[in-house]
């Protein structure tokens, strides 16, 4: 895989952590063709936070799946550290739009799954997992099975599971969609913290413009038919950020500008 990788990566001078190059994806079902993605390209530098916003059905989940290696692009490549990736791996952790927990594992076992796959010992991984379960405020439910959890709780378990695995690149598809405002804020702060500490690179899909601004360095605005990144928007806010950032003037300005751009597309 490495050979073609070099060739493809030449366009990115300083190698980006994650490069998405000219991705297209076409679905053909029963004669009908849907051009879900066409020529999507962007880079996320190491430790960067890139959010994608766009209307329902514009191709965001499709894009994330391709980046994760779970779906194959009709054309184009995805590279991590300049190496082309076509299949999924632990370097790209993912939180799915529909929280897919393992029904046969308890909360803590779900969170510890990645560590178990990595060969970590039982006691060690339970401790580590416990930590993340606490972070997502589910200590009271460590031994519950997914079917005994509420929607928002499941989403948080999925989040803890992805974080606990410490992926180099974290892909998140509307991870906070089912959460109330307060919990959502807590999770946003959690994400900001963890990312700082672990130096993760994040590719994030959201519908919440404020959330996008609070978290991201860059926001890619996608347009539909065919799905493409129509505009990239840099957020000029210093890190570390927290909930308080949202009431700053700079934040409000960024928001106003972003909404303008978004509407113009």
């Amino acid at each position: 895989m490495n050979l073609s990788a070099r060739a493809n990566a030449t366009s990115t001078e300083s190698v980006a952590k994650l490069s998405v190059r000219d991705i297209s994806r076409r679905f053909e079902t029963r004669g009908k063709i849907v051009e879900a993605l066409k020529g999507v390209s962007f880079d996320v530098p190491s430790g960067g936070f890139y959010s994608i916003i766009g209307h329902s059905g514009c191709g965001k989940s499709t894009l994330l799946n391709i980046v994760a290696g779970l779906d194959q692009a009709t054309s184009g490549v995805v590279a991590v550290d300049g190496v082309v990736r076509r299949s999924p791996g632990p370097d790209r952790g993912m939180v799915f739009q529909s929280y897919t927990l393992f029904p046969w594992l308890s909360v803590i076992e779900n969170v510890a799954f990645g560590m178990r796959m990595g060969g970590m010992g039982k006691k060690e991984r339970r401790e580590a997992a416990q930590h993340y379960v606490e972070l997502v405020k589910l200590s009271a439910f460590v031994d519950a099975y997914p079917k005994e959890l509420s929607g928002g709780m499941r989403q948080r378990v999925a989040l803890a599971r992805a974080l606990a695995n410490k992926p180099a690149v974290l892909l998140m598809d509307e991870p906070f969609g089912a959460l109330d405002a307060e919990t959502r804020e807590q999770m946003q702060e959690l994400l900001l913290n963890v990312r700082n500490k672990e130096f993760m690179t994040v590719l994030f899909i959201t519908h919440d413009i404020e959330e996008a601004i609070l978290l991201s360095e860059t926001i890619g605005i996608m347009a539909a038919r065919p799905g493409r990144v129509a505009h990239e928007f840099k957020i000029e806010l210093p890190y570390p950020r927290d909930a308080a950032t949202k009431v700053s003037d700079a934040f409000v300005q960024n928001k106003r500008r972003l909404i303008e751009v978004f509407k113009s597309i």
Partner: protein
């Protein structure tokens, strides 16, 4: 109206265990009563329908002379061995078939070809290669069970949602790990259910298996009794097979509901 009554007509609603078992018992008691009436009224030929008393008498005789126990022991052993063997082979292969398209290509069409063939037709080849000992009988049950089981296992493995597999990948599971840590546990409830169903299938082969030089066993005794028109023995042994099956069914159900608390099923 008591609540349990309103539960009866509800889809997926559990009914009280007492009601469940009362109804279930009735489904045995009623046919038994009809049997008793039919045989005692003389309406049906005794030769074809022995009376419950005759059958019970025969049960006592055979239990006392020990033949009943040795027949049960041998047949249980054969069925259990053949079935276990079939499961050991069919589960991994079936899971591969349901998971890898190439494994499907390798096994499925050929299995589809062989599984239609009457197992009894393999008796000469079995005798040629493994002789007429216990191995032959166990192999017969294996052949009768394996080809059906492997397809059922594959069908179950195919129903594991792709999302769950994908999640495991992104958490760093290797393909091998996905197989053992995701596909297998996700298939488990369906697998146990299908094993339960196929165990019944294995039992139906006990007669065919015991065609091969058996000196004892439930199937053997049924054939012998048929030769001498001993209908009471035939009825007794058929009922015993049914009861053994019923018991193993209940045991497997218990095990599966105890070991898989996470599965969404309606319990008894």
């Amino acid at each position: 109206m008591p609540t349990w009554l309103s539960q009866i007509g509800r889809i997926r609603a559990p009914i009280p265990a007492a009601l469940y078992w009362t109804v279930a018992a009735a489904t045995f008691v009623i046919p038994a009563a009809i049997w008793w009436l039919a045989s005692s009224s003389g309406y049906v030929d005794r030769l074809f329908l022995p009376s419950p008393a005759d059958v019970a008498k025969q049960a006592v005789v055979l239990a006392e002379n020990g033949r009943l126990w040795s027949d049960i022991g041998w047949s249980v052993f054969r069925v259990f061995a053949g079935f276990t063997l079939a499961a050991i082979v069919a589960i991994p292969i079936g899971i591969l078939m349901g998971t890898y398209h190439i494994a499907d290509a390798i096994f499925e069409p050929f299995t589809d070809f062989v599984r239609y063939m009457p197992a009894a037709a393999f008796i000469p080849l079995i005798m040629l290669y493994v002789g007429i000992g216990e191995t032959a009988k166990i192999l017969m049950i294996f052949i009768g069970t394996y080809f059906q089981l492997v397809l059922l296992v594959a069908a179950v493995a195919r129903t594991v949602p792709i999302d769950v597999i994908n999640v495991a990948y992104t958490l760093g599971a290797s393909r091998r790990q996905v197989l053992t840590n995701v596909v297998v546990p996700a298939s488990l409830p369906g697998l146990v259910e299908n094993l339960r169903i196929t165990l019944g299938w294995a039992w139906t082969y006990v007669i065919v298996a015991e065609l091969i030089a058996a000196q004892q066993g439930l199937g053997f005794r049924i054939m012998e009794a048929q030769r001498f028109l001993k209908t009471d023995t035939i009825f007794l042994y058929i009922a015993i097979i049914g009861l053994l099956g019923l018991a193993s069914d209940q045991i497997m159900r218990r095990i599966s509901s105890k070991t898989m608390p996470w599965a969404e099923t309606f319990d008894r």
